[in-house]
């Protein structure tokens, strides 16, 4: 349930909201619905990861330009980063950590505060 709500509402608010919008969303949903810390953290992370990875994959496939390589090049001060496979893995890793912080930590924070 938590997973589904964050996934669906998250998809809508992400289009308009600031970059951290999923954090208060997970916070509110978990404060309202979560029954354990593990559930709050896990389902919030999973929902945001699903949303982001599906969206990224869509953009990656539809684009004519491999912006992942260009971005990794800029961030690593080189012309192409570390080659496409490693670049993709690094980008996915950073994205996942971000999803854990915004989604997971957001949900956990909401759950922990449900009694106050």
């Amino acid at each position: 349930m938590i997973y589904l709500i964050i996934l669906i509402v998250g998809a809508i608010v992400s289009v308009f909201g600031p970059w951290w919008i999923a954090a208060p969303l997970a916070f509110i949903v978990c404060r309202w619905k979560a029954t354990s810390a593990k559930q709050a953290f896990g389902q919030s992370t999973a929902a945001l990861l699903t949303l982001w990875l599906v969206y990224i994959s869509y953009v990656f496939i539809k684009s004519d330009v491999n912006l992942v390589n260009k971005m990794m090049g800029v961030l690593s001060s080189s012309s192409e980063g570390f080659g496409t496979p490693v670049n993709v893995i690094v980008i996915l890793a950073i994205t996942s950590i971000l999803a854990i912080i915004i989604g997971g930590l957001g949900g956990l924070a909401g759950y922990k505060l449900r009694k106050i």
């Binding site: 970059w19 951290w20 990224i56 330009v65 090049g73 961030l75 980063g81 971000l98 930590l105």
Partner: protein
């Protein structure tokens, strides 16, 4: 305790969000940048089409924009206001970051984006007065009410685009560097123009020449650095008649320079910056297959992303013009309409001089001029660093202009500016009419309209080439040029003497000019403008080496039944006149002594003198000639001591006509007298050693394009990944096809004039989009590197259909 346990995730969350939402030093705001809904993924273009319908406030009537297959906009407006509004809107939607970046450079505000490391650069730009000049031009815009309206409409269009943006829509560069676009204004357009003035007319050799005169005396200067080249093929054909009654030229004073006192500045000084070259020409109907003129232009600038130029067609009831424009400026800069075509190359006149200032005391409130103390003006400049700290600077100005540096220091950005001197620079001119020149050309119908448009132009001076379907061709080195005594400003000037001041300007209609010359073509390639025999005024002493100009003239002189394709082939001409001139005498010397490099010598002997991409000989020749020139001159005129070398044609003249010259002796070897032969042999050995060391023993790695290494770099040098390297093309700095490592033809255009409707071709190295995540960012690089041109789609009117139109956009006024 219980509260603490419940609260820690929230505290941690807020802390992390704060950290990830802000940039730290050079690390961007990772949270914003990597969130797929706000960060860089938003710039990965999934739909190349622009929105079909937009409602914008400020528009008066509906505007239709048709996009062709290269996403070039063809704008159809019902009035001029809407035309420039839509131009501003459209160009901003592809290039806003670039437009704003140029203005930040000219205004000396880069520290706000990149921090303290840009401070010296900003200080130079701010002190040299570009920001102030832009303000002064804007303050006088009421003198040109039509132009003011145009600039305001353009700014409104840019701002209408900015109003549609939220943070996630910002160009990638804003996201990575962590700042936001500011509203556009006519002042920003003027800053953009100031940036061009600085790029094209911002150099000076005065300091170097003065040091040279100080060290060797005027006789050596006159011998080795003459005012007119040894091998000249000037823009105005020699022997052209003077068509006006000249003004009296100011008398040359008894002393023509003011030597700097501090002779110890020669430390780690940089070489003069690379020459900016460009070509343009037009052939008359008598030389073309169509019987009407054909015009070609390829301005050479630093190759950069986003592309310097932006193509568009602009149509209203008053104008229908196609060409390339500079992002940030209304109208078309280089292009054509139904009746005429025009193009520009840089003149590079001596319009930046330095005056030694004698201040009364260290307060610098007064300075001595014309036998009296005069007041300086002071202005406080504030630089805001990226972290919010500020640096304050006081700018001191005399009637000549601003004093750039008070002390010589290795930290000064521009080492060719002497301390204690005031800068007099045409860029400070506040006349607001510049853009009327281009807007006038956009709507010009004939030669008279062309002349009228040119009279508005101030700077940077350009060689305006012209052709019309009335069978006229012309070229005019044009701009506001000071009326100088001979050699005024070839050296540093004396700021206390009134006779060293600029004393008026050459009337615009007395600028060098030629119309329909007998030879049936006009051309320019930054070479010397006009022989002193044919023109009364001093413009400058230095010019680009004669190779490109002479080669172009050779090709055009031989041309009959020319077509657009013949002109395209001249643009891509890789023939090295330098090799044709230098190699025979050098090879003769080389072959007179035994050499272990017979294979390399054979490569040069069998070479057809073309700097083609896959040839190896040009790699040897180009490396060799540079080393050889250095060996001849760098002992007497060390470039690391702020001195400059005599021209290449002067050197060739010595090699051929005076091989025993004392200049071939290396003055650093006391007990030996070197000869030309010694230099030729040792420089060749050094050339092969250097190639062996860098590229291995002779192999395909010696192919010219691999050695020349042409690349197109993003405006932020650190963004290598947004750049293109190792482009497989020929050319060189002594070649008509002037592609070097960082410079090259930034827009190639060929226009066949026609009574009915012109046919034109062109492209530039890059693409319409400034977004590295768009396929239109660099889609034209490959055809450019092959020397191809695209046929340009010039629509007769809004109704004309074309299968090349891929998308339509309608801009509607909001009620």
């Amino acid at each position: 305790m219980k509260i603490l346990k419940a609260l820690w995730p929230t505290v941690l969350l807020v802390a992390l969000l704060y950290l990830l939402g802000n940039s730290h030093g050079t690390v961007p705001a990772i949270g914003k940048l990597f969130n797929p809904f706000t960060g860089f993924w938003q710039n990965s273009e999934t739909n190349p089409n622009k929105p079909e319908n937009l409602t914008l406030s400020g528009l008066q009537e509906e505007v239709i924009i048709k996009y062709d297959e290269n996403r070039i906009p063809h704008i159809f407006a019902k009035n001029d206001h809407d035309l420039y509004y839509a131009q501003g809107y459209t160009i901003a939607s592809d290039r806003i970051w670039q437009m704003e970046f140029y203005t930040k450079v000219a205004a000396g505000r880069l520290t706000e984006i990149v921090g303290e490391r840009a401070l010296a650069y900003d200080q130079y730009n701010r002190r040299s007065g570009m920001n102030l000049a832009a303000e002064n031009v804007v303050a006088r815009l009421d003198e040109e009410p039509e132009l003011k309206k145009t600039l305001e409409a353009y700014a409104d269009g840019v701002n209408a685009y900015l109003a549609t943006l939220t943070e996630k829509d910002y160009p990638l560069e804003y996201k990575i560097l962590g700042y936001k676009p500011e509203p556009w204004s006519p002042k920003k357009t003027m800053l953009m123009m100031m940036n061009m003035r600085n790029q094209l007319n911002g150099g000076s050799t005065d300091f170097r020449m003065t040091q040279l005169a100080q060290k060797y005396g005027m006789d050596v200067v006159n011998e080795l650095f003459p005012d007119y080249p040894v091998m000249a093929d000037p823009i105005i054909p020699e022997g052209s008649p003077l068509l006006f009654e000249p003004l009296p030229v100011p008398a040359t004073p008894d002393a023509i320079t003011a030597f700097p006192e501090d002779k110890t500045v020669a430390m780690s000084l940089q070489n003069p910056r690379p020459e900016i070259g460009s070509n343009n020409w037009a052939i008359a109907g008598s030389k073309s297959a169509t019987g009407l003129p054909i015009l070609a232009n390829d301005p050479h600038l630093g190759l950069s992303y986003p592309s310097i130029w932006y193509q568009m067609q602009l149509t209203s009831p008053n104008v229908n013009v196609y060409g390339s424009c500079l992002p940030g400026a209304p109208g078309i800069t280089i292009g054509f309409n139904k009746d005429i075509a025009w193009g520009v190359t840089n003149v590079g006149p001596d319009v930046m001089d330095f005056y030694k200032i004698n201040f009364k005391n260290n307060n610098r409130d007064e300075y001595w001029h014309d036998n009296q103390w005069k007041k300086t003006t002071k202005r406080t400049e504030k630089y805001v660093l990226k972290d919010g700290k500020t640096v304050i600077d006081t700018l001191v100005s005399t009637h000549h202009g601003p004093v750039i540096y008070f002390e010589n220091s290795k930290d000064n950005f521009n080492k060719s500016v002497p301390a204690g001197y005031a800068m007099k620079w045409i860029t400070h001119d506040s006349s607001p009419t510049d853009l009327n020149c281009f807007l006038g050309l956009n709507a010009a119908k004939n030669y008279d309209d062309y002349l009228k448009a040119l009279s508005y132009y101030v700077a940077p001076a350009q060689n305006f080439v012209f052709a019309s379907n009335q069978n006229d061709i012309a070229i005019t080195p044009n701009g506001k040029l000071p009326l100088k005594w001979n050699d005024q400003g070839k050296f540093l000037l004396d700021g206390t003497r009134a006779d060293h001041d600029w004393q008026g300007f050459i009337p615009s209609n007395q600028n060098p000019h030629v119309k329909n010359p007998e030879r049936a073509y006009v051309s320019s390639a930054n070479q010397s403008i006009v022989s002193p025999k044919d023109y009364p005024y001093y413009i400058d002493w230095i010019s680009a080496p004669p190779y490109r100009g002479t080669q172009i003239n050779k090709r055009l002189a031989a041309m009959t039944m020319g077509t657009a394709d013949s002109l395209r082939s001249v643009q891509n001409d890789n023939y090295s006149l330098a090799a044709e001139w230098f190699l025979p005498p050098l090879l003769k010397i080389l072959e007179n002594s035994p050499s272990k490099y017979s294979e390399e010598i054979a490569l040069l002997k069998n070479w057809n003198y073309r700097n083609d991409a896959h040839e190896k000989a040009p790699s040897i020749f180009e490396t060799w000639i540079n080393i050889l020139l250095d060996k001849v001159w760098d002992d007497e005129f060390p470039s690391n001591q702020n001195l400059m070398h005599p021209s290449e044609d002067k050197t060739l003249d010595l090699i051929i006509n005076n091989p025993e010259s004392k200049w071939f002796d290396n003055i650093n070897t006391k007990d030996k007298k070197e000869t030309l032969e010694d230099i030729v042999l040792s420089s060749f050995t050094q050339t092969i050693d250097s190639l062996n060391k860098t590229y291995g023993l002779q192999s395909d790695e010696w192919q010219w394009y691999k050695v020349k290494q042409t690349g197109i770099r993003h405006l932020i040098p650190a963004f290598e990944a947004f750049s293109t390297f190792n482009i497989e093309n020929g050319g060189g700095k002594r070649i008509v096809n002037a592609s070097t490592d960082k410079w090259g033809p930034s827009w190639r255009m060929v226009v066949e004039l026609d009574k009915e409707w012109p046919k034109a071709y062109g492209l530039y190295p890059g693409g319409q989009s400034g977004n590295p995540g768009s396929k239109y960012y660099d889609n034209l690089v490959e055809p450019w590197s092959k020397g191809e041109l695209k046929e340009l789609l010039f629509l007769k009117n809004e109704q004309e259909s074309s299968e090349r139109i891929m998308a339509l956009q309608t801009l509607k006024p909001s009620k």
